[in-house]
Symmetry: C2
Subunit: 180 residues, 2 copies
Amino acid sequence: MTSGHVFIAASLDGYIAREDGAIDWLERFGETGEDHGYARFISGMDAIVMGRGTWETARHFEPWPYALPVLVLSQRLAGSPVPAGLEGRVRFSDASPAGAMALLAAEGHARAYVDGGQLITAFLRAGLIAGMTVTLVPLLLGSGRRLFGALPADLALRHEETRTFGSGLVQLRYRVGPEP
Amino acid sequence: MTSGHVFIAASLDGYIAREDGAIDWLERFGETGEDHGYARFISGMDAIVMGRGTWETARHFEPWPYALPVLVLSQRLAGSPVPAGLEGRVRFSDASPAGAMALLAAEGHARAYVDGGQLITAFLRAGLIAGMTVTLVPLLLGSGRRLFGALPADLALRHEETRTFGSGLVQLRYRVGPEP
């Protein structure tokens, strides 16, 4: 089975976007000149899985930023054509998290970047996330879209490394699941 | 005005207790032999402010663990007598956060430990928290009582230091508010 990997930024109070999806509060941290490790992270992945919310933001990126094949999981989008120019690079699917990972595994993909708040929790619930890098932004938003949602039971993490940056970002890296 | 200071542990998904108040998931991290800095933190405080929820847990501690004067903010408890043995060490008050801090300031207290999820957010909303030490537990609980609640606006933090522990705890220390 393909393993899922998370690389995401959140406010200290656990939000990844405002209620309307805005990430204005995050953008200035992308302009610090600091290397927060995204390039290194993505170089270890060979596919991307995202939800519809993330897709609705990503589809407007110009140029298209992803070299890896992107699988968008959405019951609403499944069966509809992908926008011109993205054929062969983006697919829409109504697969379950496990179905998506089985599909990617059958295609030879070992490690998938799983992006988007609701999708991350769905994959965590299904036991499909192997590692998480969470970058905490020094800010309380007080409301918005949460990184983590409800789980059926406690999920143990194993802390691997934490890096701090002059901008105030703190990046935590965990393996997911109890000690093997 | 007395300044407020937070020292609290939370799961990575932002919970300080289960829905029923249980902290069983936290207790094993107190038995690691690691020094997480509580003694040093409390040595810099000269009063404690807590909400009713925290009081309801603390009142059963035997022996009473706090050398500092404790102010319990509760409309329900205000006016009722404190339990035998705690007279002069605990007070109940229906003061607002600002009223509580003004009372403590008039008594000569400079720095107060503010404890309890709902109270911390109330004090953050009132601009009365100067510093926060948040210790992240390597665990997703998926539900429970949240550390942070709703705020009327973004609240900037200044990261001061992060410490990591062999147990997997990561302790972040922030100043609250924008650069002076």
